[in-house]
Point group: C2
Chain length 475, copies 2
C-alpha cells in the first residue's frame, strides 16, 4: 500500500479516537515530514485523501483542520456512562465496580447528582482562585519549582496552621504534610501505622475509600456499627479493643460519610483516651469539618490527643477547591514516616494549586465564602427533609446532619437500594446505594443522598422521581 | 494565670514557629473574640503584651502585624539542611535516610546542585505556563472541577496522544491515565501487576525510587547489572528469566537514571519479546525521553509491544514543569486496574496544572522550548566532560549520555563515594553517592553528577572543589 494511505489511515484513527478533535489544526505538513521522515508530498497526499474522505478540511494559508461536522456536544462527558444492567438483588456485589460506576455516573450532567461525593461546584469561588493562582505563581521564583517538595509549600502550611489556631488548636506548620487531597493523606497514614495482614477498626457504615484502601493494601477491616446521629459509641469501641488487637482505627468523627453523624465532644475524648491506652493509632478523617451549621467548628478528636497518637487528615476539596486536589496530614508522632512515604510515592503536591490556595487564604474571602456555603448547605438540608417528608412513603427513616451535605436514609422494608439505584438511574436520578459503605449487603436497605450538589430545583425533581419509584414498589 | 497572657503565649508560639511570618497581619481582634469566645478586651490586652515583647506592632487604623525586625531572608529555605555527621565508610547505609538527606540538600541554594534530581529550573517556561493556567482555567466551567476525575483532563490526554503520534506511535487518549508525576504512575503500575512478596527485576544501578517502592510495598527486588552505556543486555535478561519467575520487570531503557544509558532499539525489541514470551509485564520509565540530543526521540520499548504487556510511564517534570507534578501512565492491558488504583489512592491529578499544560501544548512553544533545552543540556554535558578531564585525577571513568542530564562516574580506587559526599557537602557541593542506586554498598565507588541543574559557572566551581578533595585523597 502507498505510504500516504498508511499515513492517512493513522490520522483517521486519531480523529476517530478523538485524539484530534473537531476544528483542531492538524500538525503542519513540514513538521510531520521532518519528524516522521516522510516526504512533504506524501504528507500532503495523505491530508488530501483525508479531505476527500470528509474528515479534514483545508483552510487557505492556515493549514488542515479536522472537520467540524461531527462536532460533539462539548457538554457531553468524554467517556460514556457505563451501561447499566438490571441486577437481581442478592447477587454478591462487586463493590469496586459499583463505586466506579457511581463515580462515573456523577460525570453525566443529565443526571440529578444525588449520588455525587462533592457539593455543587457552582458554590465555589473558582474565579477568585484562578486569580490567586496567577498572583501566587508570580511570586514563585524558578528555584522554588524544584524546591517546594514535600512537606509542601511553606506559606500554605502556615495558613493552615493559622486556621487551626483560630479554632483554638495549636499546630506547628512543620507537623503538616500537604497531600493530593485528603484521600492521599489517609492512604499514607494507613501505610505509616499498619502492615499487610494487620487489622483496622472502621465505622459501619463507612466511607468506601477506607474499605478500598484497606483491601488494596492487604489490610483487614473490622467494622464497628455506629449510631447514624452520634457516631461511634466509646463503650462499643472499648468492648472491641478488649477482643481484637487492631493495628489502627480509621474514623470520621465529624459529619461522617455516609451518615452525617457527629460524635459528641465528650465521646471523642473518651475514644481518644481509649485508643491511647491501647496504643492504637487513630486515623482521623476530618475532611468535612469546615462545613458545620452551628456557631463553631466541632473540635476534632485531635484536640484531645496528648501522645501524638492521632493522624489527622484535612482537605480543601469539599469546602473550597474540588479538583485542585489539596489536602493535608498532621500525623502526630508519625510525621516523618508519612513525609517519607509521600516523597516516595508522589513526591509533592502540585505547585500551582498550592500557591493559589495559599494566596487565597491570605485574605478574608475564605471565611466569607464558608459562611455562605454553610448557609446554602443547611438550607438545602432543610429543603431535602421537607421533600422527603412530603413525597416519600411511610417507613422511610433519615438523618438530619449538623454539617456536611449527605443524608443517610433507610428505605421501607423489602426495598433493595441496589435495585433502586438502577431504577433511579434509568429515571435520570443518581443516588449512592448503601452497599458501597459496607463489606457485605448489610446496608442494601439504605441510600446516601447528596443534597449539596443538585440545585434546589433538581433536588425536588429527583426526590419526586425517587418517591414515584418507591411508592410503586411499596404498593 | 490571666487569660490574656495565655493567649499572648499562644500567638508567640505561632510567631516562633513561623506560622505567622514577619509583617503578616494578626487575625482581627473582633474575629478572634468571636471564634475563641474571648472578650474583646482580653484579645486586645494579649496583643498589647506581644507589642511590649517586641513581637508585634500596631498600625493605626489597620490592626496588629508581626514585627519585621527578625525578617528572615526570603531566599533561605524554610527547613534547615540536615546537619551532616562524618560517617565512617563500611557502616551499613540507611538508604532511605540518605536519599532524604540528598533531596533536602538540593533545597539549599548555597550548594552547587550536582546531587539534584531536576534540571536547572531557569530553563523552564514558567511565565508562559502561568499564563496558560490562567487561560486554561477560564474555560473550565464549574462542573468540570468535580467531573475531571481520573483518567484526567481530556484535552491534556489528547495533546499527549498527539505528541506520541508525531513520534510515530499510535496512542488512544483513553489508554492514558494522568498521574501526580511519573513517580505515581510507576507506583500504580507496580501495584497493578504485582502482589506483596512478588519479585521484581530491576536494573543495577537503578533509580532509587524503584527500590523505595518495591521495599515499601513489600515486593522483593532482583538486580540485573547493566552496562552504563547500552543498558540492560537482553542475553543477561534471558538467563535471569530462565532462573527466576519474576512478577514484573521495571526498567528505564532510555537515558537511564543514574547512568544515562540508552538501550539500542534492537535490544529494546529483544527485551520486549523476551518478557512477552515469559508473560512478565514491563514497567517502562520513560521520564527522560524528551531530553534526547540526537535528531529524533529514541523509540521507547512500548513501540515493540504487541500484547499490551508494557506499562509505559511519562512525565512533564523533567522537560517542562517541575513542581506541577503531571505525569501519565499508558498501562496497556492493565489500564482499568491502574485507573481504579489511581481513583482509590489519590482520586485525580490537580486541575490547574492539567489545564495549564494542556493549554500550553496547543501552541508550538513546547517544541521550541525543548529544542533550546536539549541544546543547553548537551552543551553542559560537553562542558562537564571537559572539566572532568581537566581537573579530576587519573583513574576516573565516566559516561557520555546521549540525553537527560546525569553522568555516572567511577571514582579512583579506594575512594568511598559516601565519604566524598559528606566532604563535598562541607565544601558546598552536592553530589549523589552511588549507594543510593543499589541494594547494598556495590556502588560506593560511583557518584551521579547532575550537569543540568548548576549553571555552567557553578558546575566549574563544583568540579574544581570536588577535584581538590579527590586529589588530596588519591595522594
Amino acid at each position: 500500500m502507498a505510504l500516504y494511505i498508511d499515513y492517512a489511515d493513522e490520522i483517521q484513527r486519531l480523529i476517530l479516537d478523538a485524539a484530534l478533535t473537531p476544528c483542531e489544526r492538524l500538525p503542519s505538513v513540514r513538521e510531520v515530514s521532518r519528524r516522521r521522515g516522510l516526504s512533504v508530498s506524501t504528507v500532503l497526499q495523505a491530508y488530501r485523501l483525508l479531505e476527500a474522505r470528509g474528515l479534514v478540511e483545508a483552510r487557505p494559508r492556515s493549514g488542515y483542520y479536522v472537520s467540524p461536522r461531527n462536532r460533539a456536544d462539548p457538554r457531553q462527558p468524554d467517556r460514556p456512562v457505563t451501561t447499566m444492567h438490571a441486577m437481581p438483588s442478592g447477587v454478591p456485589v462487586d463493590r469496586g465496580g459499583l463505586i466506579h460506576e457511581v463515580l462515573e455516573a456523577t460525570r453525566s450532567r443529565d443526571l440529578v447528582p444525588m449520588g455525587s461525593a462533592f457539593p455543587d461546584p457552582r458554590l465555589f469561588p473558582l474565579a477568585r482562585l484562578r486569580r490567586s493562582i496567577y498572583r501566587g505563581l508570580q511570586h514563585v521564583d524558578a528555584h522554588q519549582s524544584v524546591e517546594d517538595l514535600s512537606p509542601g509549600n511553606a506559606a500554605l502550611r502556615r495558613q493552615i496552621a493559622v486556621r487551626y489556631h483560630l479554632d483554638g488548636q495549636h499546630v506547628d506548620p512543620d507537623e503538616i504534610v500537604i497531600t493530593n487531597g485528603a484521600l492521599e493523606a489517609l492512604n499514607l497514614c494507613l501505610q505509616a501505622v499498619t502492615r499487610p495482614g494487620d487489622t483496622v477498626l472502621i465505622e459501619s457504615p463507612t466511607f468506601y475509600g477506607a474499605l478500598q484502601s484497606i483491601e488494596r493494601l492487604g489490610r483487614r477491616a473490622i467494622e464497628l456499627p455506629i449510631d447514624p446521629v452520634r457516631g461511634l459509641d466509646p463503650d462499643r469501641l472499648k468492648r472491641q479493643l478488649a477482643v481484637h488487637r487492631p493495628a489502627a482505627c480509621w474514623l470520621m468523627p465529624t459529619f461522617q460519610n455516609p451518615t452525617g453523624a457527629l460524635v459528641p465532644a465528650a465521646a471523642k475524648q473518651a475514644i481518644v483516651e481509649l485508643l491511647a491506652a491501647h496504643e492504637v493509632p487513630l486515623i482521623e478523617d476530618d475532611a468535612y469539618a469546615e462545613l458545620y451549621y452551628g456557631a463553631r467548628r466541632p473540635p476534632p478528636a485531635r484536640v484531645f490527643d496528648r501522645t501524638g497518637n492521632i493522624l489527622h487528615c484535612g482537605s480543601f476539596s469539599k469546602s473550597l477547591a474540588p479538583g485542585y486536589r489539596i489536602g493535608w496530614a498532621m500525623p502526630g508522632r508519625y510525621v516523618s514516616c508519612v513525609l517519607r512515604y509521600k516523597l516516595e510515592s508522589t513526591l509533592a503536591a502540585s505547585l500551582p494549586a498550592q500557591v493559589g490556595i495559599a494566596d487565597y487564604l491570605r485574605g478574608t474571602h475564605y471565611d466569607t465564602h464558608l459562611t455562605t456555603l454553610r448557609e446554602q448547605l443547611r438550607r438545602r438540608r432543610d429543603g431535602l427533609i421537607d421533600l422527603v417528608r412530603t413525597h416519600f412513603p411511610a417507613g422511610v427513616e433519615f438523618t438530619r446532619p449538623e454539617g456536611g451535605y449527605v443524608m443517610w436514609l433507610r428505605l421501607p422494608q423489602g426495598i433493595s437500594a441496589r435495585r433502586l439505584y438502577h431504577q433511579a438511574l434509568a429515571a435520570g436520578v443518581g443516588i449512592a446505594p448503601g452497599v458501597l459503605f459496607g463489606c457485605d449487603d448489610t446496608f442494601d436497605d439504605h441510600i446516601r443522598l447528596n443534597y449539596g450538589h443538585p440545585s434546589p430545583a433538581a433536588l425536588e425533581r429527583g426526590i419526586v422521581r425517587l418517591a414515584g419509584i418507591l411508592t410503586e414498589q411499596s404498593e
